[in-house]
């Protein structure tokens, strides 16, 4: 039976901060965006205080102090490092891992065992990540990726699931969808949810129960695909994700995989180029970039290796050259030459996506954005006239040193020898 898992890290940025601050285990925590602009992550306790995503810091400063909320500047170096550890662990549980964002990944669980086995397997995976890295995750398992996402939300909402919700029967599926807001379904944004409400569709079950002809008459092909997925027919992969929150391009390598760094560079540069094309195609920019490549580690004791590197740019971009530059830099930093690993899958994920006309400027920006936009426009123009990739990026380095404000940033606990956690012997 075809089954997908979704592993989602709970309140990821806050959970990362808590790994090294166990004293904040049950305390309200928030993480602020670059330059301490607004709230981008909240612990459950902070959500209960009514704090909302995207609220400017200065507006709630007083409230945060009154309730003794611990406030962190974003520490993307730390989040990227812990994300890599989580993904590396997850890759041991599946023959096919599909990282989807810094804190989410799909896993292929097809034909692995019966319901009792899978439920225990998912619980064990969640417990392993929790114990090894210190990050709580929620796992959903279902016949489609969209349903796996629904299931993972249930796993997060109810502690009784012990970190894993298995939605393998029609009965469970109907029950879950009939108390799930349609607006929370993968790929149905707020805007679409309002339109659906106009047709009296408020719950996921309301949409699933319509017939296909009705859906395709009223909505575009993406909604039809979501409808299919809600009814258990798998037709969406992360590479054509219906959600605009992240853009992925990846592929698996046949036979013994890719061992050569230069070849891997070529592939990932191509993935990055495709992602950047998609990004500009939807008039967006991104500030989060992840590159990954991993060897097969499923059911084998062979030493394997996972490259999973992420970065966050001070200024969002959609320029191919810039994105490719970061991807290659990260790939090289993660590549091991001490042993000859055969990478079976690689890919690029762009996240922290925003409309290109809403990009926040940075006082310390080191890139001439006007020139960069003009250059990209010229390249796109040539490629449109002469065929794709007529002009493309060779290789370039890039520096992203800035003087951004981050007064409340926690140490780079795992990546800087001068910022290690300290254990007091007293």
């Amino acid at each position: 039976m075809q089954l997908y898992g979704l592993a989602d890290c709970n309140n990821f940025y806050c959970s990362c901060e808590r790994v090294f601050r166990p004293d904040l285990r049950e305390a309200p925590v928030v993480v602020l965006s670059n330059n301490d602009g607004c709230i981008i992550a909240r612990s459950e306790e902070s959500k209960r205080l009514g704090l909302k995503m995207g609220t400017p810091y200065y507006q709630v400063r007083h409230l945060l102090e009154t309730h003794h909320v611990t406030v962190f500047s974003s520490n993307y170096t730390l989040y990227g490092s812990l994300s890599g550890r989580v993904m590396s662990l997850l890759s041991r549980y599946t023959p096919q891992l599909e990282p989807y964002s810094i804190d989410e990944a799909f896993l292929d669980f097809s034909d692995m065992g019966d319901a009792a086995f899978l439920k225990a397997y998912g619980e064990r995976m969640a417990a392993d990540v929790r114990r090894s890295v210190g990050i709580p995750i929620s796992v959903g398992i279902a016949p489609t990726r969209t349903l796996a996402k629904v299931a993972s939300k249930y796993a997060k909402r109810y502690a009784g699931y012990r970190g894993c919700c298995l939605m393998d029967t029609d009965d469970k599926r109907r029950k879950a969808l009939s108390s799930f807001d349609v607006g929370d379904v993968w790929g149905i944004g707020r805007h679409l949810a309002e339109t659906l409400a106009g047709h009296d569709i408020r719950l996921a079950a309301d949409l699933a129960d319509k017939d296909e002809a009705w859906v395709s008459r009223h909505f575009n092909v993406n909604v039809v695909r979501t409808w299919k997925e809600l009814n258990g027919i798998s037709c969406i992969s992360p590479d054509d994700s219906p959600e605009k929150k992240s853009i992925c391009t990846s592929r698996s390598f046949a036979d013994e995989g890719v061992t050569d760094l230069h070849l891997l560079e070529e592939y990932t540069a191509r993935f990055a180029t495709r992602c950047a094309d998609k990004l500009r195609g939807q008039a967006s920019c991104c500030s989060g970039i992840t590159v990954f490549a991993y060897t097969s580690r499923f059911r084998t004791e062979q030493p394997g290796h996972v490259i999973h590197q992420s970065t966050v740019l001070p200024v969002a971009t959609n320029a191919t050259a810039e994105i490719v530059g970061h991807v290659l830099r990260m790939l090289r930093a993660g590549f091991r030459t001490s042993a000859r690993y055969a990478y079976k899958k690689a890919g690029v994920v762009l996240w922290n996506i925003c409309p290109q006309n809403a990009v926040q400027q940075d006082l310390f920006d080191v890139v001439d954005r006007q020139k960069q936009t003009a250059l990209q426009r010229a390249v796109d123009h040539i490629n449109r006239r002469n065929g794709p990739d007529k002009v493309h990026v060779a290789v370039r380095g890039f520096s992203s040193d800035t003087g951004a404000r981050c007064d409340r940033r926690s140490p780079h606990y795992t990546t800087d020898v001068n910022e290690l956690p300290v254990a007091f012997a007293r």
Binding site: R21, D23, S132, N418, L420, F424, A425, R426
Partner: protein, 154 residues
């Protein structure tokens, strides 16, 4: 006293470490007879780290563990996935601060102590149900013997 015997291995750590592995894939001619004698050099990462994703480095500050040979400024290798057994050295979180102690489990398995290895510091009694947390188990401590110049202190 027995004669002191030491065995020497070549040690390497981290990367990059270029190795002549590609020799074997050369298409022309016979494989080099030397390839039969090839073995990768030992890597400290393999020797010191069991759970890669669960391993963290922690800096020690203070002198409460000196009698156990764990000194101020040492680097502890900590396995977060390992279960603490009686006698293990652990990183615990007490009063919002990380501390290193030896974990001693009383018979019965419900009560325990976090023991300092320096007479001047008292042990801490803990109950299995107490609000104390073992964050990880210390598997190795790296203690530099060669004096560093002041500006090299990390």
């Amino acid at each position: 006293m027995d004669e002191l015997r030491l065995t020497f291995h070549r040690a390497t750590a981290g990367q990059p470490l270029p190795l002549p592995l590609s020799d074997e894939s050369v298409q022309a001619g016979f494989p080099s007879p030397a390839s039969d004698y090839f073995a990768a050099d030992l890597d400290l990462n393999d020797l010191l780290i069991r759970h890669k994703e669960a391993t963290f480095y922690v800096r020690i500050a203070g002198d409460s563990m000196t009698d156990a040979g764990i000194l101020d400024g040492d680097l502890a290798i900590v396995d977060k996935a390992a279960t603490a057994s009686d006698g293990d050295f652990v990183i615990a979180c007490i009063n919002g601060e990380f501390t290193i102690k030896q974990f001693r489990l009383a018979p019965g398995g419900e009560k325990g102590r976090l023991v300092a290895w320096n007479n001047r510091y008292p042990s801490i009694e803990v109950c299995a149900y107490d609000d104390f947390r073992i964050w990880g188990v210390v598997t190795h401590v790296i203690h530099p013997l060669k004096k560093r110049k002041p500006h090299e202190r990390g």
